[in-house]
């Protein structure tokens, strides 16, 4: 049974919820003024067609769970899918926060999303602040 008293108690007493969103910008990098949770991320860049690299601001030891979703100005057959995850390096300084690839796919093909005030990608990450799993 869970022993934790804080709201995020189910999976550990040291979990951190990092949620963010950004506005895709076609073939260009997302504009940082469209980011939410700017204190939790160091950058979001477009690395290829429909591919974004999210770099976190803080170095957490473990990524427990994550999700991503897309809202669009008009209905389209698009979905978000995470790609390669690079964990944070923690211990001997300098530490390095984690980063993860996020792809937007049309069926299986990475696809750019046009710039539009109603086109927004949202994602959430639940990190653990220690390596001790309770």
């Amino acid at each position: 049974m869970s022993k934790i008293l804080s709201p995020l108690l189910g999976a550990g007493n040291d979990l951190v919820l990092v949620c963010l969103s950004f506005l895709p910008n076609g073939a260009s990098n997302p504009v940082s003024t469209g980011f939410t949770a700017v204190n939790e991320i160091s950058s979001i860049t477009r690395t290829g067609v429909g591919a974004y690299l999210i770099k976190f601001a803080e170095a957490y030891p473990q990524l427990v769970s994550k999700w991503a979703d897309i809202s669009l100005n008009a209905v389209a057959d698009l979905k978000c899918q995470f790609g390669a995850y690079t964990p944070a390096t923690i211990g001997t300084p300098p530490t390095s926060p984690a980063q993860i690839v996020l792809n937007v796919l049309a069926v299986a093909t990475p696809t750019d999303v046009a710039s539009n005030a109603n086109n927004r990608i949202s994602c959430g990450f639940i990190f653990r602040r220690t390596t001790v799993e309770t």
Binding site: S2, L8, V64, A108, E133
Partner: protein, 130 residues
């Protein structure tokens, strides 16, 4: 460091986030990566995994699931069975089934360090909704 002091306050004071992740291993049992203490994960069939939460909670408020893949693929992960979200479980353990599908058909996901399924459920500790 996160600036969030009370992450779930807006949705209620008795909510529990239970979440984890595991690495599918093709037709073999998955390798649990996180959330080991709160759930048992098992491969039930092609592309299907059961998630059993222990201890019981009175109500499941919401769920999520996502897939991370080494290469972009037409695979989605979704919950397909389990007690109806929002039902009172009367003390029984919550078990849901995740299924990975490609074009609507269940499909196993090969073992790869970058192939990871993430899941989460939000439970209420009481049946009293505030």
């Amino acid at each position: 460091m996160s600036k969030i002091l009370d992450p779930m306050a807006a949705a209620g004071r008795d909510l529990v986030v239970i979440c984890g992740s595991f690495a599918p291993q093709g037709t073999n049992p998955p390798t649990v990566l996180a959330g080991k203490a709160e759930a048992v994960i098992a491969r039930a069939n092609v592309g299907q995994f059961t998630v059993t939460i222990d201890p019981p909670y009175p109500e499941c408020v919401s769920t999520w699931a996502s897939v991370q893949l080494a290469a972009p693929t037409n695979i989605v992960i979704e919950w397909v069975s389990g007690p109806t979200v929002g039902s009172v479980l009367a003390g029984s353990k919550w078990t849901g089934t995740l299924v990975a599908t490609t074009a609507g058909a269940a499909a196993d996901i090969a073992a790869d360090p970058q192939n990871v399924i993430s899941w989460g459920v939000i439970m209420r500790r009481t049946s009293f909704e505030r």
